[in-house]
């Protein structure tokens, strides 16, 4: 095993010269080491970990349970609470003078205080470009991206810049089957059209809402889209369909990247 010359010596000298309490330009970051190094290499400096949170009471939905329908009260709650958390995170990044936020994670945690209460939280690392440029999006806010540091680096290498995270949500109730209909299906392999249609409708609503957000940002496209079915705590017939991705804009006309080397990794 070859040692890169001078590294242990230089590193230990730095530790020997440590002056606690001296003023340094300091950052904190929520990134892994790989991500931290790649974000630096992509020409960005981490400024600090940023966070936004909201504890939200989700209202009660009155509805006709024999019908396929979107549960608008729940859809609105899930969207509004995430929006609150994201806006607070963006405000923190704005205070730091960031160009954007990378590695954003959006989580929902139901709390011990009650079944209708959930904490919505957005965490990421605010970054600033070494070269000044037009990084903020058309709303004047720092860009946001849920891409990992690795994906972010690749995206910038390929000549794209993230504009913002875009999302769409739809909480959908799939109708309960009528008794005789359920009886007639017993023991048979048949499609249940009302279930199929319901799932199509719900996913379509979530995705079209996400797309509308990307259009509002004048994005060229959306990358890293995840389409999640989150059952939360609403029982088998009510599911949240949540679409989330990063809207991107081109930085230059060509989008070729260097041909990667092929390797056979010696790890599990």
């Amino acid at each position: 095993m070859t040692t890169v010359d001078g590294i242990p010596e230089d590193a230990m000298r730095r530790l020997a010269e440590m002056k606690p309490g001296q003023k340094t330009s300091l950052f904190t970051s929520d990134l892994s080491v790989n991500e931290f190094l790649l974000v630096r290499e992509a020409g960005f400096r981490p400024l600090g970990m940023v966070l936004g949170s909201s504890i939200y009471h989700v209202g009660f939905q009155f509805g006709r349970w024999s019908k396929n329908q979107e549960l608008e009260v729940l859809s609105n709650a899930m969207y509004h609470a995430r929006e609150l958390a994201m806006t607070r995170m963006e405000a923190e990044a704005d205070v730091l003078g960031a160009d954007g936020i990378v590695g954003v994670r959006l989580d929902i945690e139901f709390k011990e205080f009650g079944s209708d209460l959930a904490e919505f939280i957005a965490v990421g690392t605010a970054v600033k470009a070494d070269e000044p440029g037009q990084w903020r999006n058309n709303t004047g806010k720092p860009f946001t991206s849920d891409l990992s540091g690795q994906d972010f680096w690749t995206l910038v290498q390929a000549g794209y810049a993230p504009l913002g995270m875009v999302m769409g949500t739809c909480v959908y109730h799939v109708a309960h089957q009528r008794f005789w209909q359920a009886m007639s299906n017993v023991g048979q392999n048949v499609e249940i059209p009302q279930f199929t249609e319901a799932l199509y409708d719900a996913r379509e609503l979530a995705m079209s809402r996400m797309q509308a957000e990307a259009e509002a940002l004048h994005a060229e496209g959306i990358v890293g889209v995840q389409l999640l079915s989150l059952p939360h705590r609403w029982g088998g017939h009510t599911t949240e369909f949540f679409a989330i991705g990063t809207a991107v804009k081109p930085l230059r006309a060509d989008h070729t990247i260097a041909k990667p080397q092929l390797v056979l990794p010696l790890v599990d």
Partner: protein, 267 residues
């Protein structure tokens, strides 16, 4: 020796005599640290069992500042983790190490008491200069190697916690009632934001005090509970490693090679 239990002292003397090194590192981590000139010296451990005040036991009378309800529990965690880390450092120091990598902190309940445990691998640098004090990090050996190749060296692990509690009043009750509809619960939101902000500020201050240039957060945790009727408590902590720059110049000299691993999708 350094206030360590007799069993630990005996283990250390045996380790020094035998010349065989032990390590908790995985194969990639072991190869990684060698590449940046660090040699494993031995596995080190720090452990303490504390009797911890119940989180549900209200130690203060009503009418006092509810903010102090969660303080005994926070203090217990703080003492526990820091004592475990101190003992780990003492062991590493006795082995003549320069630092400890891949530190794992854990908390285990023994019924009436809690065990705080820190385990890691002590390393020694192939250099003529010795650091002022031991460096410690929870990053794996491969991560340490990547950082050092890019001109950064880990300095020390930091655990920063904050806790607070509030009385919930009429406003909270009406915001959480069945008829409240979609609404943000102001008091809870303020509480969790306050404790998280406090934990992050403390972490930041600790990193600054250490004289580091950066902090890599590996864990940001929050727990909430109800210690009593209409009292809500929250505890947040940040755990990570302070890192210092040793390369000169402004940019980090990483030289990334774009590679495509030959394995199946998702592995």
């Amino acid at each position: 020796m350094h206030g360590l239990p007799p069993a630990a002292v005996e283990r250390l003397t045996r380790a020094k005599r035998s010349g065989v090194f032990t390590s908790l590192l995985s194969a990639p981590s072991a190869a990684g640290i060698k590449a940046v000139g660090l040699e494993p010296v031995g596995e080190v451990m720090g452990c303490v069992v504390l009797s911890v005040a119940s989180r549900y036991q209200l130690t203060t009378n009503y009418g006092y500042n509810p903010g102090t309800f969660a303080t005994p529990y926070l203090q217990a965690l703080n003492t526990g983790y820091n004592t475990a880390l101190e003992r780990l450092r003492a062991e590493a120091g006795a082995l003549g190490a320069d630092g400890v990598v891949d530190i794992r902190l854990s908390l285990r309940s023994l019924g009436q008491a809690e065990e705080f445990l820190a385990m890691g691998t002590a390393v020694r640098a192939r250099s003529t200069t010795r650091p002022k004090s031991l460096f410690t990090t929870d990053l794996s050996g491969s991560d340490v190697a990547k950082l050092m190749l890019a001109g950064w060296v880990p300095l020390q692990v930091e655990w920063a916690g904050a806790a607070n509690a509030i009385y919930t009043g009429i406003a909270t009750q009406s915001q959480t009632s069945f008829y409240a509809g979609n609404i943000e619960v102001d008091s809870y939101t303020r509480l969790v934001n306050r404790v998280r902000a406090e934990a992050r500020t403390r972490f930041h201050e600790m990193v600054r005090k250490a004289g580091a240039e950066g902090g890599i957060v590996s864990q940001l945790a929050l727990s909430t509970w109800e210690p009593g009727e209409q009292v809500v408590a929250a505890l947040a902590y940040v755990y990570g490693t302070a890192i210092a720059k040793f390369h000169r110049g402004t940019a980090t000299p990483a030289s990334t090679l774009t590679i495509m691993p030959l394995r199946r999708q998702g592995e």
